[in-house]
């Protein structure tokens, strides 16, 4: 058997068929994951380019690089593209798509055609978004606040709203697919208590996608209707209520933060376990805290609205609930830290990103405690303090997690290793650049610099210069992996099925895997993260 496999080139999901048709009509979850990978990477660099222009404008207090309207469009489209076309699909649609079936021992997702449909919906939404951009853009802020968006903006609000509406269905279908798959497609012996934490995280994420996204879709339709047909829903001049919009918008858009961060937490759990050769400390607590975050995350939305005009008592309720949702996040950080205790720790690139995640997520989480405190929020909401806080969560958290996962599973996805030295260098550059970009913004925020300002008083300049300098370093840190990942496709070292010596069913099949993942359905008789039973491989990059 072994000799036959060596002589002929082994059939994998990558070489089974060739040609553009075989990709555009595929129902293989692994190929769809790669379609997503290519498309979200494109949007990441578009959104990142806008971010750089924003930072360049803010290098000086005067608005001297772009016009005010252009600036407003830049931060709007940066937000819309990064949130809806990069962060939300990032880990679930790429790594989740690739790994959820493999981790539970399934041949594919439960609904493979729906999976392909969700990618086409994403592309349709993305194309419409790009159309709105080249037609002249949108200037409402990614938050579409009414009545500005429905009655005052002269930009392409309808197109952008519909683009996000369409992409939302892609997200709903992915969530639906994961929930069904995790319930129905687990291999024999893969009980709920044996699921990798990556799966628990994606299960929690999928529930948010399923229950939250429809509310955003309805809200955006109402915005479009009010804008086009002057239906009075949010505009007080037409008898509407602008706060109703904010409630509906944040009912989705706060849980959306957990759509971004929970999968990253799942990745971090996998990576930490592998590179410290240990089961995650407090498996059940970490799994349940994902569910806890998903559930409580639905009832904290109005903490975005403490100064918006909600009642004193509503504010008190949403403040206390926001503190409750911080508890499961704290539990995770403590358990990850404890996982390192008495481990056998090595420092490959995925581990560096995972450790970076813990550090930056800790800072992001702690500054969330400031914002949930009513008395402080009044001062710092709508300032750069908020910008810094959510970038620590979304970029420092979600993107670091995504990068950790991409490096960790790259040899599984491609069968080749990325260059380890460059990987570590890029991780370091990202960490330094990130902190230099966003830490000064906490100080700017407490000093009172409002967000979405094209011009600002001169006393804020030095901190803004630091932030802009950091953003250029960050850009280098993100471009490097782009280059060496491409390079590794052809020149990367060919690796075995399990180069990290990792636990998890995805490592028990070949790299790259065959189309149906496993030659025969595996039977699970062990707990997740049974690292005490897996030897450390002698491969060089583990040292």
């Amino acid at each position: 058997m072994a000799t036959a496999a060596v002589s002929a080139e082994r059939e994998t999901y990558l070489n089974k068929e060739y040609g553009i048709r075989s990709w555009l009509l595929t129902t293989d979850h692994k190929r769809i994951a790669l379609l997503y990978l290519a498309s979200i990477t494109l949007f990441f660099f578009i959104g990142g380019f806008f971010a750089l222009l924003i930072r360049l404008e803010l290098l000086t207090p005067a608005g001297d690089l772009v016009l005010a309207d252009t600036y407003n469009k830049l931060f709007t489209m940066h937000g819309q593209i990064m949130v809806f076309f990069f962060l939300i699909p990032s880990i679930p649609a790429v790594l989740g798509n690739f790994l959820v079936p493999m981790m539970i021992g399934a041949k594919d997702l439960a609904l493979p055609r729906i999976n392909l449909l969700s990618w086409y919906l994403y592309i349709a939404g993305g194309a419409l978004m790009l159309y709105a951009m080249v037609e002249g853009g949108v200037d409402t802020g990614w938050t579409f606040y009414t009545p500005f968006s429905t009655a005052f903006s002269n930009t392409h609000v309808v197109e952008a709203g519909l683009a996000i509406f369409i992409a939302g269905f892609s997200s709903i279908l992915t969530g639906l697919n994961f929930v069904v798959t995790i319930h129905r497609m687990r291999a024999p012996g893969m009980t709920w208590s044996r699921l990798p934490l990556f799966i628990w995280a994606h299960y929690a994420t999928s529930i948010i996608q399923l229950l939250g996204t429809p509310v955003l879709a309805i809200t955006l339709v109402l915005v479009v209707l009010e804008r086009t047909l002057h239906l009075g829903i949010f505009d007080p001049n037409l008898g509407g209520d602008p706060l109703l919009f904010q409630h509906l918008f944040w009912f989705y858009s706060h849980p959306a933060v957990y759509i971004m961060i929970l999968p990253a937490m799942g990745v971090v759990s996998e990576v930490l376990a592998c590179f410290s050769r240990k089961r995650i400390f407090g498996y059940a607590a970490v799994a349940m805290s994902s569910i806890g975050i998903a559930v409580i995350g639905f009832i904290v939305w109005a903490h975005h609205m403490f100064v918006a005009g909600i009642s004193l008592y509503a504010a008190l309720v949403f403040s206390i609930l926001s503190y409750l949702v911080a508890v499961p996040s704290a539990i995770k950080v403590f358990n990850w830290t404890a996982t390192l205790y008495k481990g056998s720790i090595s420092f490959a690139t995925p581990m560096l990103y995972a450790l970076g995640f813990i550090g930056l997520f800790t800072i992001g989480g702690l500054t969330g405690l400031f914002l949930a405190a009513l008395g402080i929020d009044v001062h710092v909401t709508d300032t750069y303090f908020v910008i810094a806080h959510f970038h620590y969560i979304m970029v420092g958290g979600a993107v670091m997690g995504y990068m950790a996962g991409l490096h960790f599973w790259w040899p599984k996805i491609t069968g080749r290793m990325y260059p380890e030295w460059w990987g570590r260098l890029a991780a370091l550059i990202v960490f330094v650049g990130f902190n230099l970009t966003f830490f000064p913004q906490f100080i700017l925020g407490y000093m009172g610099m409002p967000r979405r300002y094209w011009e600002y008083p001169p006393e804020f300049q030095i901190l803004n210069v630091m932030s802009t300098a950091g953003s250029t370093i960050l850009a280098v840190g993100y471009l490097l992996p782009m280059v060496y990942f491409m390079w590794s496709l052809r020149y990367g070292k060919v690796v075995g099925d399990n180069p990290w010596g990792a636990a998890g069913l995805e490592w028990k099949t070949s790299s790259p895997p065959p189309t149906f993942n496993f030659d025969e359905t595996p039977e699970v008789t062990w707990e997740a993260y049974n690292y005490d039973q897996i030897p450390v491989p002698e491969e060089a990059w583990l040292e």
Binding site: L340, G359, G375, R452, W454
Partner: protein, 325 residues
Amino acid sequence: MIDHFPLWPPGASTMAPSVDALFIFLTLLSVVMTVGIFAVIIVFLAKYRRRKGVDATPIHGSVVLELGWSIIPLMVFMLIFAWGAVIFFQERTPPRSSAEVYVVAKQWMWKIEHSEGQRELNELHVPVGRDVRLIMTSQDVIHSFYIPAFRIKQDVLPGRYTMEWFRATKPGTYHLFCAEYCGTMHSGMIGDVVVMTQPDYEAWMAGKTGGTMASSGSDLFQSLGCVTCHRADAQGRGPSLVGIYGKPVLLEDGRTVVADDNYVRESIMSPAAKVVNGYKPIMPVFQGLVTDEQLNSLVAYVKSLSQPPAGTQSAAADTKSSPKE
């Protein structure tokens, strides 16, 4: 640039020290937590570096630790919640004797009118040591009235009033920012809050022309014909407005509402929304007929009908809590 590099905002209101205290507490807590977690991680990373012949020790977890690091943070969080809530409660409860200033926001300026009749644009002059309550509305989109030096901020909405209050403590000129994105020149919708000593403020006030807001409201009350129905003697087709401000009003549908700024505003703009018990919904709609500034004057006038005659006003404010009303 270098010689002017502050890292901390000026504090010039009674609220600033309270907000700063909690902020400093949270900063210290965060530093302790961050340094603590980082230190533990770094020690573990160093101590448990992968070495030949040394395997990881399998550990499943610890219920005691799980409970500990759930319950202790929760208790700390509740403390922070309570502390933040107390400050917020103060921020949302203006003292009864506050001076009132009306703010009308529009793209991209702040129009300000003191109840004494003084008007200004993108500037707000206030004396040190006086409680000032801002009654704010917007003519177009949502704005937000933010004075970093006072640590206060409140969104300003079209179609209703929102409030914020402060007591300035230090003379000086401070930033006024619009903090809610409002379109092209959002970042140009800024101004100055000028805190003055009492004599300076009085000198500034003396320069005004025209009557108080209540008196221009009174003129409007005549010219718009309100007075024909809302007679002072309660014999008109509409309820008398004397003494109603701040009092509960029984409505036709059995509900009771307090006749506050927003109720008075709503009753002028869409009178049929909350009709007083015993009266018919016959009042014409004034939406679109009066400007926001005129509306503010009318509200100030209705308010003045509930205040003791001029001259005794300051005496009444000085007596601590007079429940006899």
